[in-house]
């Protein structure tokens, strides 16, 4: 069953936020989501499923099968290491007689990929008041857009009050972009002058959140390459400032990863992880032909789970990540 917003967020309400919403509504939303995901990932599926089916459904699992499977995974940006692990494991299972024929292999492959994706804590706990969510990532991966949509869902779907801290004080017009999103979502946006200290903006945002008794404070940060030491140090400082204001904050640190990213995504997650302890990935731009397989490599090698995915331009196209749906949509026609 697909995860939805009520599954992703742990809230204060007894029985979770879900108790407040009629089940039928959720069901419909889920079906709608499945449909969207299927449509948006059609290209993705066609490419990978074509590879898998043309080869694996033809019966015997031979040397060629493994080679094609390897290519299919590499093509999805899963990376050489994780690919080798997956292929080796399936090959071994086939040798031991647990896997016979292409159909079984496809099913097991999808299971295994979902298993890989399922790592660490897959929820976002928004019980602390306010819950501080820090969002980081490389330039152009979709931080600001994801924050806008996340704020909208927290506000409109879960009825939370949200304050956004516009701590991207570097990129020209980043604050304006966030303000537009704030208007749409109905959230307060705290900003400083362009070029001002991002830590100060984060500090003010949390102060405002407390003042207004907001449920969630989301802090946007400037996009930066993980190799820029000074900028990474600046990010660490933003985190320290947040912790000073509120000792157990940030409660969640999300990193945006563009689904078109190749193997460098691993380095990104590793270095951002070292700097600010990333607790979840937002996998963006999954609506193209890119497979986003790098997220599997990140989950497998660094144990950082994907929590949200972006599958389109619209507000409802930011969705909670569901490992089974992801693997399934990736593999089945």
């Amino acid at each position: 069953m697909a995860r939805d917003w009520y599954d992703l967020f742990i809230t204060d309400f007894p029985g979770g936020a879900a108790a407040e919403v009629p089940q039928t509504g959720r069901e419909q939303e889920r079906r709608g989501f499945f449909k969207r995901l299927r449509e948006n990932m059609k290209k993705t599926r066609e490419a990978l499923a074509a590879e898998v089916q043309a080869t694996l459904f033809e019966g015997d699992l031979d040397e060629q099968t493994w080679e094609r499977l390897e290519e299919a995974l590499i093509y999805a940006d899963v990376g050489a290491k994780t690919t080798a692990e997956v292929v080796e494991r399936l090959e071994q299972e086939a040798q031991e007689g647990q896997l016979v024929g292409g159909e079984q292999l496809t099913k097991r492959l999808s299971e295994l990929l979902a298993e890989l994706a399922r790592t660490g804590d897959e929820h976002i706990d928004i019980r602390p008041d306010p819950t501080v969510i820090l969002v980081v990532g490389v330039n152009g991966t979709g931080k600001t857009t994801s924050i806008g949509k996340l704020a909208w869902h927290l506000r409109q779907t879960l009825g939370q009050t949200v304050v956004i801290g516009a701590a991207d004080t570097f990129r020209a017009a980043a604050v304006e972009q966030l303000e537009r999103w704030g208007e749409r979502a109905g959230c307060d946006v705290v900003k400083g002058p362009e070029g001002s200290d991002p830590g100060a903006v984060a500090f003010d945002a949390i102060a405002r959140g407390r003042e207004r008794a907001a449920d969630v404070v989301i802090i946007d940060t400037a996009g930066r390459l993980h190799t820029q030491r000074e900028l990474m140090a600046e990010l660490e400082k933003v985190k320290r400032v947040i912790s000073k204001q509120m000792p157990d904050a940030p409660h969640e640190t999300l990193m945006t990863v563009d689904a078109t990213t190749g193997q460098n995504g691993l380095r990104q997650a590793q270095l951002f992880g070292q700097a600010v302890n990333v607790t979840g990935i937002v996998l963006t731009k999954l609506d193209g032909t890119a497979k986003g397989g790098i997220a599997l490599a990140i989950a497998n090698e660094l144990n950082i789970p994907v929590k949200l995915i972006g599958i389109g331009e619209k507000l409802e196209d930011l969705r909670p990540f569901d490992p089974d749906a992801f693997a399934e949509a990736l593999l089945t026609a």
Binding site: K43, E71, I74, Y75, A76, D77, G79, A80, V138, N139, G140, T141, G142, F170, R171, A172, A173, A174, E176, Q177, R180, W181, L225, H226, T227, Q228, R229, E230, D258, A259, T260, T261, G262, Q263, N264, G265, R267, K285, D287, G288, T289, A290, K291, G293, I294
Partner: protein, 444 residues
């Protein structure tokens, strides 16, 4: 990973030297390593397949060279082939005899189009003395127009914008008229990022193309792109018929295999590389250097070029003389330190050195503040002290420490390290290679 490709190949090919030539088996093993290396660099797997079979052909029957070990030799062949595949020499823009030359920018969301537009505008203004205008046709992303206004003006370009209520095709056509009226040499049309599978937006791009008849269409590709680069390039080639590529975010540590994939499937050259946050961080693309980067061999040429830009030749000769004669003073050191720092942060320079990519030394945390302190200490010394550091004793130390806001210990350390460095330099100038390992241990 890659920096060790040559090492790995050397291990794989051990024993070849005695036999004198590479056997088919040796080559097959070497190709496996190369395949893995290229896949890790995000070169598309189909391109890798074609590439390795081409390299294999060339490796067969190759005589083992006397100066190079078999590993190095295979790497050389791979490097040559990669360079050739990427276009051999760097391609430049062609300008229209009847200005304005219209350049259309296209790419996925977040690939860095708007930044690249401003950087290209600045580049053309600085390098060619062109008068440049940019047109803001991204009416979709919130505040994209504001961003282009800001960076466009920083780049010294005229910005043509009509807000976000008009059709991008109309804005482009209007901007073209404006550029003609204003007598601009170049008009760069920035467009919204779009997915290559988004039919409506791709149609719009085709229409902008028809409306302004660009002389050059450039695709902006993120250097970190994975296997999908091939699909993106093919689709944009069909719709936008781009003439060249700007590779963005090359200042990170991505190997940039996407560059190879794009060139291989479309045949279009990579023209420019965007290498940093600031507007001047933009240069002509060099296929040979990219080949070395993909193979993890460091970017020596870029390093030398940057050095050349900051150090005058005469100065270099004088410096060499001083080093050889052991006349190098703290004053010279200060001058050099300032020059090197002008080239950019030390860490980014270290990353360019061959063999250091991924090496511990390239990850060494050079504390720029420490360098500030060194500068402050030297600036607090008298000319005599700078020329003859051995004078610095007792009360002089205290005075320098006070003057520079440091401690006597730090002054001591500087003087001692300077002595070591002088010795090292003398050795270098006399043609001895320093032992980098020993140098590093010393640093700790």
């Amino acid at each position: 990973m890659f920096d060790s490709l040559a090492d790995k190949l050397q291990g794989t090919l051990a024993g070849v030297r005695q036999r004198g030539s590479l056997s088919e088996d040796d080559i097959a093993r070497a190709m496996r390593e190369i395949r893995l290396a290229l896949l890790e660099a995000d070169v598309n797997f189909k391109v890798v397949k074609q590439f390795t079979s081409a390299v294999k052909e060339r490796c067969l029957g190759v005589e083992v060279h006397k100066q190079l070990n078999p590993g190095q030799q295979v790497v050389k062949i791979v490097n040559d082939e990669l360079t050739a595949l990427m276009g051999g020499h760097s391609a430049g823009l062609t300008f229209s005899p009847r200005p304005p030359t219209v350049i259309l920018m296209a790419g996925l969301q977040g690939s860095g189009k708007t930044t690249a537009t401003a950087k290209l505008a600045r580049y053309l203004r600085e390098e060619n003395g062109s008068s440049v205008a940019v047109a803001a046709c991204d009416v979709y992303r919130p505040a994209a127009v504001e961003q282009l206004i800001k960076v466009g003006l920083q780049a010294g370009a005229t910005v043509y914008e009509q807000g976000t209520d008009k059709d991008p095709v109309d804005i482009a056509r209007w901007a073209w008229d404006q550029a003609k009226r204003d007598g601009k040499d170049v008009l760069i049309v920035d467009t919204a990022g779009r997915l290559h599978v988004d039919q409506a937006l791709m149609d719009e791009l085709a229409n902008v193309r028809k409306a302004v008849k660009p002389h050059v269409v450039l695709l902006v590709v993120d250097a970190m792109t994975g296997q999908d680069a091939v699909n993106v390039a093919e689709q944009f080639a069909e719709v936008a018929r781009f003439d060249g590529v700007i590779l963005s975010k090359l200042d990170g540590d991505a190997r940039g295999g996407a560059a190879l994939s794009v060139k291989a499937v479309t045949g279009k050259p990579i023209m420019f590389a965007s290498t940093g946050e600031k507007l001047p961080d933009f240069e002509r693309f060099h296929p040979d250097r990219m080949a070395q980067r993909i193979l993890g061999m460091g970017d020596v040429m870029s390093f030398i070029e940057r050095a050349e830009r900051t150090i005058e030749e005469d100065d270099a000769k004088e410096l060499e003389r001083k080093m050889r004669k052991n006349e190098f003073t703290l004053e010279d050191f200060l001058t050099q330190l300032k020059r090197v720092r002008k080239m950019g942060p030390l860490t980014s320079l270290l990353g360019m050195m061959p063999g250091l990519a991924g090496h511990q030394l390239s990850k060494m945390n050079v504390d720029e503040k420490e360098l500030d302190r060194v500068e402050a200490m030297i600036l607090s010394m008298t000319p005599q002290e700078r020329a003859r550091p051995e004078l610095i004793k007792g009360s002089r130390r205290l005075r320098i420490a006070r003057g520079s806001g440091t401690s006597v210990q730090q002054v001591n350390q500087l003087v001692k390290q300077f002595g070591e460095m002088r010795k090292l330099m003398r050795g270098l100038a006399q043609g001895k290679m320093p032992d980098l390992g020993a140098l590093m241990r010393q640093q700790r």
